[in-house]
């Protein structure tokens, strides 16, 4: 239990650093750390597959993509646009609405029965594979169409036409 509290504290701590960091690159690096703590959470919950996917896809792929985009956009303090008053008022209004909603939902909240998993090994890769290749075999196979179509399209859009004709 103390591990959980420690990791939870780290998650929140890094999450706060993400939004307070001045430099966007630092902000993203803190986000990487936040996601890393999530991975540890998943391991504590005995969800191997989610932990690996979170580690590879979120930390590895998506955040690196973020970093690249930041590099391309070249965000400096000089060219950050000044926010007008209307935007500020709208932001305060929106934040206030969110606060009211959150407070209202907290008021009606009750502590629910603790969820007891029927099978504590539910998140193991072995069990996931069994579900994926038995019950969810058809969606798994049909997704290949999605990937193939996206791949053909990406190649199509990226190749240079030899004789560009405009109509």
């Amino acid at each position: 239990m103390s591990t959980f509290y420690f990791i939870a504290f780290l998650s929140i701590f890094f999450a706060i650093l993400v939004i307070t960091a001045r430099n966007p690159v630092h902000s993203i690096l803190y986000l990487v750390l936040t996601f890393f703590t999530f991975t540890i959470h998943y391991i504590l919950l005995n969800a191997q597959f989610l932990a690996i996917v979170n580690f590879i896809v979120y930390m590895g792929a998506i955040l690196v993509l973020f970093l690249y985009t930041l590099m391309l956009m070249n965000l400096n303090k000089d060219n950050e646009p000044m926010k007008s008053n209307i935007v500020k008022i709208a932001a305060v209004f929106g934040g206030g609405c969110l606060l009211v909603t959150v407070v209202a939902s907290l008021k009606t909240m009750t502590v629910s029965e603790p969820v007891v998993l029927q099978n504590p090994d539910l998140g193991l890769v072995k069990n996931l594979g069994k579900v994926l290749f038995n019950e969810f075999l058809l969606p798994f196979e049909v997704s290949s169409l999605l990937l193939l179509s996206a791949m053909v399209g990406a190649v199509l859009l990226a190749t240079k036409d030899k004789q560009p004709k405009t109509i």
């Binding site: 049909v142 399209g153 004789q163």
Partner: protein, 459 residues
């Protein structure tokens, strides 16, 4: 299931044909493949279909009927593509392949029996369409259309997925039957999560079918995309979107209609008015058709608002009528655009004196879209309105009739331009394929208009 397999293998075959530079064979092979798929779809016509693949798909009458109409419309659109893609670039095979991938996704969308399949079907279709909208790489409008469609589509997919997740969280299953049992068995103990999920699914689906206030991507995307792709998007894709929408709601949420019907009612009325009134002010024929497709989405939503046993067949009749008439309109637009280089209403001036056949078929299409009797459009509107009247949605029908009258005004502008305005113009060249598609579509429109029982009792 065989249809889906054929439609998945056919694009691969086309890609290989493209690899071996057999560009002449692409169109015949894809049309023949589609017709074979259509034949297998008919062979599965069966009143007591059972879910297959552990409840993933269900090929019942509904799914066979909608698969057939989408495949037929695609065949008509592909016939129009003769010589169209060659002008854009030399990678013709890929275009055909991606259109057929989208169609495979559509088959999944109209036959799903599990939310996972719904989501995968919608994604296969959407990803293919994002690419198709942007195939004119050197055209700024086409790039804009693709990017807008992609961003908006990804955004709406987020809503849909979140909705599906919440519904799964509340009911504990993706299976439509299990969700229905959850709703029916304990109507008083439905979790609030379920209602939130339902609303998010409505938002996601309304984005996909282009209903107001989630329609704002439609005009720019429809105008910027190549006309043939716009034809595909506004006919086949719209039909599939509504089929999926209706299938989901009639299978799972029918008993909760007190909760979601008012929401959809407001969306319907907004869609009708925004579509029709904005269409009045358009100078471009293509943009007018984009707004008219929004207003037709409003009429199609009637079937879901007044959900009943006849909803499926009225959506089927309406979508068929609308698809066929739109194909004529877009085919005429492609021909006129080829000659005059402009999309405006003025480019149709005096068309009747030089091309009486083209002008006649376009007139039939416009009358059908406006819902004049003896055309298929009237029958479709009649089914929609009578069903809404059965549910005592009298005000809704009154508003819809007002909108139908507004729509007559802008549809007739084309007819007036063709027959009563004269300018010096040459004859528009109509290739044989186009004559075939135009003639067949006009005949279908009139036959359904005169004898609607042909298709109205199918489902």
């Amino acid at each position: 299931m065989t249809t889906l397999i054929i439609l998945s293998v056919l694009p691969l075959l086309l890609l290989y044909l493209g690899l071996f530079k057999a560009n002449k064979t692409l169109l015949p092979v894809s049309v023949i493949g589609l017709l074979v798929g259509l034949g297998f779809a008919f062979a599965e016509w069966n009143a007591n279909a059972q879910p297959i693949f552990s409840g993933m798909m269900l090929f019942d009458r509904f799914s066979v009927a909608f698969s057939s109409i989408t495949i037929l419309s695609t065949v008509l659109i592909l016939l129009l593509s003769k010589g169209y893609f060659e002008k854009i670039s030399s990678h013709v095979a890929e275009y055909y392949a991606i259109i057929l991938f989208a169609l495979a996704g559509i088959i999944v969308m109209v036959s799903f029996h599990n939310m996972v399949m719904l989501f995968i079907g919608i994604e296969i279709m959407s990803v293919s369409l994002y690419i198709l909208a942007g195939i004119r790489k050197n055209d700024f409008a086409s790039n804009e259309a693709a990017l807008k469609y992609f961003l908006m589509g990804a955004f709406s997919t987020g809503f849909l997925l979140f909705g599906i997740t919440l519904i799964y969280g509340a009911s504990g299953s993706f299976n439509l039957e299990a969700i229905r049992n959850y709703v029916v068995e304990s109507p008083r103990e439905i979790s609030p999560l379920f209602y939130t999920g339902l609303l998010l699914v409505i938002v996601g689906m309304c984005f996909k079918v282009g209903a107001a206030p989630f329609h704002f991507w439609t005009p720019d995307v429809y105008e910027g995309a190549p006309t043939l792709i716009t034809t595909f998007m506004s006919t086949v894709v719209k039909t599939a979107g509504f089929a999926a929408f209706l299938r989901l709601f009639s299978a799972c949420f029918a008993t909760l209609s007190d909760f979601w019907a008012p929401v959809l009612l407001i969306i319907t009325v907004l869609t009708l008015f925004i579509g029709n009134i904005t269409a009045l002010y358009q100078q471009s024929f293509k943009r007018m058709l984009a707004f008219s497709s929004i207003s037709h989405a409003g009429y199609l939503l009637f079937a879901i608002v007044a959900l009943g046993s006849a909803s499926a067949s009225s959506v089927f009749v309406y979508a068929s009528a609308y698809s066929v008439a739109s194909i004529i309109a877009f085919a005429a637009l492609i021909l006129v655009h080829r000659q005059s280089g402009s999309d405006s209403f003025d480019s149709f001036n005096g068309l009747a004196s030089k091309n009486p056949f083209l002008a006649f078929t376009l007139t039939v299409a416009m009358l059908s879209l406006a819902g004049i009797p003896l055309t298929a459009g009237f029958v479709g509107k009649f089914f929609m309105f009578s069903e809404a009247l059965n549910k005592y949605q009298i005000w809704l029908v009154v508003l819809a009739v007002v909108n139908a009258i507004i729509s007559i005004f802008y549809y007739f502008r084309v007819i007036i331009a063709m027959y009563f305005r004269t300018t010096d113009r040459g004859e528009v060249a109509v290739p044989a394929y186009y004559t075939f598609v135009l003639g067949l579509s006009a005949i279908i429109t009139i036959v359904i208009g005169v004898y609607p029982a042909l298709i109205s009792d199918l489902i």
